[in-house]
Amino acid sequence: MNEGQSTGSSNRLLAEALSCARGGRILFRNLDFVLEAGQAGLLTGPNGVGKSSLLRLLAGLLHPMAGSYAGPESIALCDDRLALDEHLPLAQTLRFWAQLDGKDNADVSTAMARAGLDHLADVPVRYFSTGQRQRARLARTYLTGASLWLLDEPANGLDTDSVGQLGLALQSHLDSGGLLIAASHIPLPIAFDFTLDLQPLEELEACL
């Protein structure tokens, strides 16, 4: 489907010499990394350096300018977009994605419980607070059952307890052989296997 992407069923994410340009500006160049089953990668770096673009690229939403990547076919993306119908109760709007992901109502309940939202199942999403919205995004991500999770600031707006709950969900995903890459400024309570520190290209070139 994507030029630079050869999807395999293997539970392994391999990126080779990935480069990405947005709006006529090169964001990052020659990025190489490997993520094995059960491993987690952390993306760090200042705002606008291309963390979200890298996640969208790995999700198949953007084309790389150069380089290639191969990874699992089933991917879950959790970014700043809610992708839930605001006027519908949480359980009902999650059920739409459950149908697309081949999941049933029991899976919806499990995902809501893991995100700590089971008491809000019948509340329309538009009444949710910032933190509750973030947990709804996470519930949608847990629901996919995908092997690769791409998380853009997953702890944004979450209180301390919810960050702990998020850590448990991420850890159980890794324990079951899943992969994840998270971009986060808030320390997440799991052990990352590697950290990818993106820096603005101009500054890098100035140092050389």
Binding site: R56, L61, L62, R81, L82, E86, Q99, L100
Partner: protein, 218 residues
């Protein structure tokens, strides 16, 4: 099989949403108001209404196409719904095709019902009424397709509504010529031409709207 189930849930979600949000009834109410205003404007001469009524109902159908433009693509695009569908392996063309089907289901049948009611106000009956309904039934898929294409092309732009109107008018001229033409000529060739244009527009919609969706994402 899985993809077909997925497409069916996507279409079902759209259709339910348009009927529930009232987006479906807005064009219908507009259509009926336009038909009600016309006899006030030209006077209650039955002969004149009979001669011009069909054409007016056709123009009203074109204008009714414009009303739902800003709700077709923009809200789901902004909300990240389409992003999530792409991540799940659906193509932009499939998303656009599903949107075409769901928009027609929410737009076509109610408009035909409104046309049936409005033709009473114009005194259309018999063959003329049959031709009007047949021409609108043939053209509504094309009008839905035009609406989806224009909504996808203008998604994310400021003043998308006004731009949409400007884009629709020239593209809808062939439909209007053969659609309204079939009323006066009472010939089946105009309907056949209308059907050909309608098929063409329906066939290119998934690709044109899909390309627009891809362009706005990149």
């Amino acid at each position: 099989m899985f993809v077909m189930n997925g497409i069916a849930s996507i279409i079902w979600r759209d259709v339910r949403q348009s009927y529930a949000s009232g987006g479906t009834w807005l064009p219908v109410i507009f259509y009926l108001s336009a038909a009600t205003l016309f006899p006030f404007a030209v006077g209650p001469d039955p002969q004149l209404l009979l001669q011009t009524g069909g054409g007016i109902l056709w123009i009203a159908a074109l204008l009714a196409t414009l009303l739902p433009l800003d709700r077709l693509i923009q809200p789901d695009l902004e909300n990240g719904i389409y992003d999530q569908m792409i991540v799940r392996g659906l193509s932009d063309e499939m998303i656009a095709a599903a949107r075409l089907v769901s928009h027609w289901l929410a737009f076509g049948p109610p408009l035909l019902l409104a046309a049936l009611l409005a033709s009473g106000l114009m005194g259309l009956e018999g063959v003329a009424l049959g031709t009007l309904l047949a021409s609108l039934a043939i053209a509504t898929p094309a009008l839905a397709g035009l609406a989806v294409m224009i909504a996808a092309l203008t998604a994310g732009l400021k003043g998308a509504g006004a731009l949409g109107g400007l884009l629709l008018v020239p593209l809808a001229i062939p439909l209007l010529i053969f659609g309204a033409g079939s009323l006066s000529a009472q010939s089946s060739s105009a309907l056949a031409f209308l059907a050909a244009i309608s098929l063409l527009l329906v066939a290119i919609t998934p690709f044109a709207a899909g390309a627009a969706l891809r362009a706005v994402r990149e």
